[in-house]
Symmetry: C2
Subunit: 620 residues, 2 copies
């Protein structure tokens, strides 16, 4: 296996500087007023006209000469002759003389000769023989209740500066100035090239036997690009073919301001990209001392900037958000998001010591005192989805060997609108629980099983644990609620193999699928098998060895029955409810309790109380 | 004038409840994975498959049976026969026996019979006669370096809950699950109807003599709707015609979840809308005790919700953001923006006492200690653009008569990404200054004139004041920089009226346009006119009375010359630079200094230092 080694890893600072040295700017384009919101103004806009464009009545009432009202009051009104009326949108076409008034609507043009107005509430009309008069019961000064032309914005005035990110209020200013199109910064276009023969686009069929997987990076990175203010362009899959990869990379480079490739995990693909960049551009940096994300490339290809992201989705996103997103925001003219950090303390100890800066994805949870606890989120380097359960990142210094529980850390949130969950739960996977969770505002539930539920509740991380099976564990917790579920063997519809119970798994050629040892279902099964062993005068090891598939434990409650539905197994450990949902047959082995246990310090927490209410209302 | 009176104003709380009682929900629609970011999931999504879909090698290396490596180390490696290789995207099609290994790539399917893998770094290849061997220099346990099927997400597991706002990380999870389309909440559609004969759409010609103005509310409210997660639909202008208004309102009501009208300022239009709602729906509320914004309607029309906004743009937006935007966000499934408040203290005293809750638009500025000062932004009720200079709103209790300077207040920012200006300046309008401001990051400059500049700097509100004209004022300030500008009379190109100086304004029939008394230019003009008066043995009043147009003062430095360019005047007070820019002729009357004065407590503030640097670099 010949592959590039990453012997001299660049520092994170060098990586930032390398990316900053590239030009990602997308130029200038025109945006219509309807599409202006959120865009970044590319040049200063000065007012080309006055707002208002004329001297304007501020109220409904009478336009007049202020001096005609001097001395007037409630008791001794001034009497003026009404010589006309003017409404909004009309040319007044009247020249007011002394002793005259004009009825005027809010927003109408002040007639020539008038220098003030009196609101209708301070007047009375009065008919004299042959003429309509108005009695003015207050005195006003010149300019009173009139907004002069240009009082709001004057022609020639600086209206909006370059770099302004257009808010609805700025849209108002533009509208008032009659501007229906503005010059804005074009978002940097970011071409996304994914390589790897094993990648399949979501929506298509994936062949797991051939090791095919869905292409996670393309869509995730594209969403990240758009989040950062760029315009993502997805290029067709390049596979692992060298010529095709080179063709797609160069096409993207010609058409975009930045090209992001996310590596095929195969070493040869890395070599191809390496060669293409060296031939058609310049490689500035290869490898950076961060974890995850070591294999990062920075360079130029044709006239475009180029960044090569790692192949693993979590690594790719961590590198993207740390190094690439800030550069896209900068090029788009968007400010770095503020207020996107949280101060918290580590909920558990975390060991580390690789000499590279670590970008540690973390979740956060509020404890009973309202303080923020921070826990690492890590399903291993191959995990594609763990970031969906994380709130942000803690940057751990290369010199740090471990973070103690209770140690203060700063969490950089994935975005300013990340909302830490209102409730954090860990424990058994259960269909009733899933329905209850749907009724909560913003819960996070890690269905790791009953054992991890107990363990993590004891560590003080989650608000609640959901545990299933025998209730013989000693733990300091408040029981918020419980329900029971029927468990047993899920078998094919019609039960063609005529499976009646556990004995059939041992004595006949039945392909079985189990749950992981962490699950409460598995505990109940193992207890039942112990009884079987005892009844036969055998031991548990002999019994389990006799079951084909006993060692294959799946993680979620529906996974084993799905193997039966797919005819990959004859019997699966599962729930009566699941059998019904999947139109399968069920062989009952018993009932088990599912209990919701709360951390005693958190029973007053809003999310826990919300769950308690939901439990009360929705469990019989 | 017959009009509806707002005698029984509803409380703000009643108004909120009235709007909450309406249903704005937009239903459910499908969004493709590319368009999923930011959308709100309408239903729970469970995993339909395992991620990964197969047992997967986590590294490049060799797949093998763990027990074949037991006891192996650097010094005493285990020797295994390499019986094949498997790359990512390939079906392994190998059944591994004891003593055998398979070369495997990261992400490839583990071959049948193998239960662990060893990374290539811990191995060496070795050729024996006739067969390729690998030396394994470490021992591994079953499962080492293998990610089992479903370890990341297991089929049947709860993946995303209803109400999840899709982040790029969730896009990653959806991609991994092969999901290319999801059910999302449709944004509530909001029809926007503007009425009023005087309104003209931006981009078209406005006839100021007829009192026409640009339609500000339609686009501003539309931008606000989109900001809140709704979909805005602009309906054609209804004018003031009753039948047309009714037709448009009913069409909008049939097509949208919510109709917003923003009133014509004419009283008759309010009456028409009132009638249409009462006939075709139900009026729940008419008038609310807030300022600005009293004339607000809430009701139903056909099957749609209806809210009538005030006609004045500032009032319309204040009512929109306070009462309507939260309801749209709720219907769109978006959370209320957090962290969108600032604590500050009033920079100046503000009197108030109308018995209605006041929604006071404010700007904020950081003082020398980093504390937030809050100042009211108000250009009068007819102003359309003042919100563009505001950062947020302070809600003032109806019982409050005045806010003292220094009193603590809470500013509710217009949005969480509002960034208070880095520099706040007040003072003279000047073209050189405008260019300097363009070089700053995020400045705010209120070109109110030299007099307000001095006054507000003395009050301690802005960071800097820019003052022009005679330097005989006593103020405690640091001079950051200064430049000079040539001022005089701007006249028509070719100077057809042969204007030579101020005497021509007095002695001949010349239409002149002045600047406002607040400006430094005006001060210099008045000093020069005093000299003229003295030279003639006259007084200043006689001199100014003799000038046609002396009393008409315009607010911005370019406004008077623009009147000359438009042939509405013969001569204007202005700058040499402006004459050149507008291709007009210039009659010089002198030079004046423009000085940038800083609040002495703020000279170390980042924005002030940035300006100082810009002044040093860009002024000769």
């Amino acid at each position: 296996m010949d592959r590039k080694e990453f012997r001299d890893l660049a520092s994170p600072q060098d990586a930032r500087e390398a990316i900053d040295s590239l030009s990602l700017e997308g130029g200038v384009e025109r945006a219509s007023l309807e599409d202006a919101r959120g865009r970044v103004l590319a040049a200063r806009l000065d007012a080309e006209l006055d707002v208002p464009g004329f001297d304007r009545a501020s109220l409904d009432g009478y336009a007049l000469r202020a001096r005609d009202t001097f001395g007037a009051d409630e008791a001794d009104p001034a009497r003026l002759e009404v010589v006309g009326e003017v409404h909004a949108g009309e040319d007044p076409d009247i020249d007011l003389a002394d002793g005259e008034a004009v009825e005027i609507s809010t927003g109408a043009v002040m007639p020539s000769g008038a220098d003030a107005m009196v609101p209708v509430e301070r007047t009375d009309t009065d008919e004299l023989a042959g003429r309509a008069d108005v009695l003015i019961r207050t005195s006003v000064a010149p300019g009173d209740n009139v907004m002069f032309a240009g009082a709001d914005v004057a022609a020639g005035e600086r209206a909006l500066g370059p770099g302004t990110r257009i808010t609805p209020r700025d849209v108002g200013l533009l509208s008032a100035l009659g501007i229906d199109e503005i010059p804005v910064r074009a978002p940097p276009t970011v071409g996304i090239v994914s390589t790897g023969d094993e990648l399949v686009r979501p929506g298509e069929e994936v062949d797991s036997a051939r090791g095919e997987i869905y292409d996670v990076n393309s869509y995730t990175v594209a969403a990240g690009v758009e989040d950062a203010g760029g315009e993502a362009v997805l290029y067709p899959h390049a596979g692992d073919d060298r010529e095709e990869m080179e063709r797609v990379l160069r096409e993207a480079a010609r058409e975009c301001d930045l090209v992001l490739s996310s590596g095929s995990t195969s070493a040869s693909a890395v070599d191809v990209i390496y060669d293409v960049i060296e031939e058609g551009g310049e490689l500035l940096l290869h490898g950076v001392a961060v974890k995850p994300g070591k294999p990062m490339l920075v360079g130029r290809l044709e006239d475009s900037a180029y960044v090569g992201l790692p192949g693993y989705p979590v690594s790719a996103m961590m590198i993207f958000r740390t190094f690439v997103a800030p550069a896209i925001r900068e090029a788009a003219g968007l400010p770095e998001p503020e207020a996107a950090t949280l101060e918290g303390e580590m909920a558990v100890q975390e060991r580390y010591g690789e000499g590279r800066m670590r970008l540690m994805p973390v979740g956060v949870v509020t404890d009973g005192d309202g303080d923020t606890l921070v826990y690492p989120v890590d399903k291993g380097s191959g995990a594609t989805t763990s970031l969906a359960e994380a709130d942000g990142v803690v940057e751990v210094d290369p010199g740090t060997d471990y973070l103690e529980a209770g140690e203060p850390v700063t969490v950089s949130l994935f975005s300013p609108d990340v909302r830490p969950p209102t409730l954090l739960g860990v424990g058994e996977d259960d269909p009733t629980l899933n329905r209850l969770l749907d009724r909560l505002e913003n819960p996070r539930y890690l269905s790791e099983g009953t054992e991890p539920g107990f363990r993590r509740l004891r560590e003080g991380v989650p608000d609640i644990a959901v545990v299933a099976g025998p209730a013989d564990r000693d733990i300091d917790a408040a029981v918020l609620g419980d329900w029971s579920r029927e468990w047993g063997l899920v078998v094919e519809a019609g039960n063609p193999r005529e499976i009646e119970g556990l004995a059939d798994l041992l004595d006949r050629d039945v392909r079985f699928v189990n749950r992981t040892t962490d699950s409460g279902l598995r505990t109940s099964l193992d207890r039942a098998l112990e009884d079987v062993a005892e009844g036969r005068g055998s031991n548990i090891r002999e019994v389990t060895d006799a079951i084909d598939g006993y060692g294959l434990g799946l993680r979620a409650h529906e996974s084993p029955p799905r193997k039966v539905a797919a005819r990959e197994a004859d019997a699966a450990l599962g729930l009566a409810e699941t059998a019904e949902r999947l139109d399968l047959e069920f062989v009952s082995l018993g009932q088990q309790r599912v209990r919701v246990l709360a951390n005693p310090d958190r029973v007053e927490k809003a999310g826990v109380r919300e769950l308690e209410g939901v439990l009360e209302r929705h469990l019989e």
